[in-house]
Subunit: 266 residues, 2 copies
DNA sequence: CGACACCTTGAAGAGGTTCAAGAAATGTGG
DNA sequence: CCACATTTCTTGAACCTCTTCAAGGTGTCG
């Protein structure tokens, strides 16, 4: 776990694929608020639209909104009006109950949609907190519904996004209900790195944007257990860890841990 | 825990509200396949439709389907074509992984919608097993999408159903991630009895349709722990338990257990 | 540079699991 | 309808994983 820093220097940079412009100096001439010229379109919008549909879709994003690290996109109890597509940054969503319970329900990154929990009761039921400075596209839900009555592929897309969230949560239930600490952390790391890789980042290095406590809350473990489990993986040569920098040395070993030491078929 | 049997005799009968006809002799004259004269409509279909919309909605249910106890409505890998509304009966949904993990992701009863997991990849990702003889309305999803482009309140309704499922799963994550065995079982009992009560059954007596093992799987506990926790509740005078018959004697005590021994505000 | 948040590690303890045996209920076939 | 097989449930005892409590280290930011 000695000299990690140099190797991690590039972790924050995209290696390929879906590259997106830097945020600070938004050029109003080239970056107008429109999905049709957004590099993340393939992640949050349907593919195969014709020109007319593309024009309609462009009107779905009302404005963009910036959230500072630690700030909230929405809070439990807030009125629901819009879904949000993450352009840049990293979020956690969590439930905080009156009696002091706390549960991180997910971590969200660029291209992912937030706010679905608010639809059912017109109010949000969890908090969305930025874990790094972020920018989101605000999509009024009424507009989404209106458009998806006209654009069939958008309608289908919205349904898929919600279904995907349901299936993701099934996976979390499997994790929380049937895995031990090592298995949970291995599954967590593999999931994170896979999603980052799909966005052009490294398949083996990652920078954790959340604390041990937040990881623990998500995984149903105490922060000490998360820390100890990281240390165990390090001892076994599976990962290198330096604070929030993680390098996966043996992806296969992590997969074996998750799969009950069985090689997945094929 | 002595003489429970007599009191439980009526458990299977509806006390009031949404009463529905018995299944076996379906009279084709009175019970045509139509949501507009279904007693469960208020549970699975939007309210406040005009006559024209009601007529359209009636075409959403293709056929009904009966599932024997132990039978499957769908299985992991099955092609997704339809959503299902439960008319009668009781289901569990569960994930079974190749490496032998198993997780019950939910229990469903009359008026609830199943199959949402299949939308995202056109294939189901879990098994839906009937825990008692059941009858479901089969609603082809293409038809639902078509109609919800025309009937705004149906569109909104579909969105709410999916959002509700997402929020429900957040609650399960909270349960699995942050509660101890007693708290989990108390929350489980309160949730079940509340849903049954909303359907006209008793607010304090219930007949469990699932085994201790299935409860345990859902709650992330072993069946022995479920059994022991039931026994503990019995010792404390909170419930009476005789096999699958449960009578809640002290709802408040269960609520206190769930709420970390804090009375909920107001 | 000091205050603060975050992380690591050790030791003791609690909660839940595992293994095992027996009891109770349920289903089946004659 | 009864006898038997099977499933389900309960309970005890030993064990193990994770938590709790505590202390010290590391990194960060004004």
């Amino acid at each position: 776990m000695s000299e990690l820093t140099p190797a991690f220097a590039g972790t924050g940079k995209r290696a390929s694929a879906v590259s997106d412009e830097k945020i600070p100096p938004i050029n109003p001439l080239t970056v107008k608020i429109a999905c049709s010229n957004c590099n993340l379109r393939e992640l949050c919008m349907p593919l195969g639209l014709n020109a007319e549909e593309l024009n309609k879709i462009d009107t779905v994003v009302e404005i963009r909104r910036r959230i500072k690290r630690g700030g909230r996109l929405y809070s439990n109890g807030d009125r629901f009006t819009s879904l949000f597509a993450i352009r840049t940054g990293f979020f956690k969503t969590c439930i905080n109950t009156e009696d002091g319970r706390n549960q991180v329900t997910g971590f969200q990154m660029a291209g992912e949609i937030m706010g679905l929990d608010g639809i059912v009761n017109d109010h949000h039921t969890c908090d969305a907190v930025a874990l790094e400075d972020a920018e989101v596209c605000v999509m009024p839900f009424e507009r989404i519904e209106e458009l998806s009555r006209e654009v069939v592929s958008l309608q289908r897309h919205v349904h898929k996004i919600m279904s995907r969230e349901i299936v993701r949560e099934h996976g979390v239930m499997l994790l929380l209900g049937s895995m031990r600490a090592e298995e949970r952390l291995a599954a967590f790391l593999l999931n994170l790195v896979q999603r980052l890789h799909a966005r052009g980042f490294s398949a083996s290095e990652l920078l954790l944007r959340m604390t041990r406590e937040e990881i623990g809350s998500y995984l149903g473990l105490k922060l000490e257990t998360v820390s100890r489990t990281f240390s165990k993986f390090v001892e076994e040569g599976i990962v290198e860890v330096k604070q929030r920098h993680v390098r996966i040395l043996d992806t296969q070993a992590l997969k074996l841990i998750v799969n009950n030491n069985q090689l997945p078929c094929q």
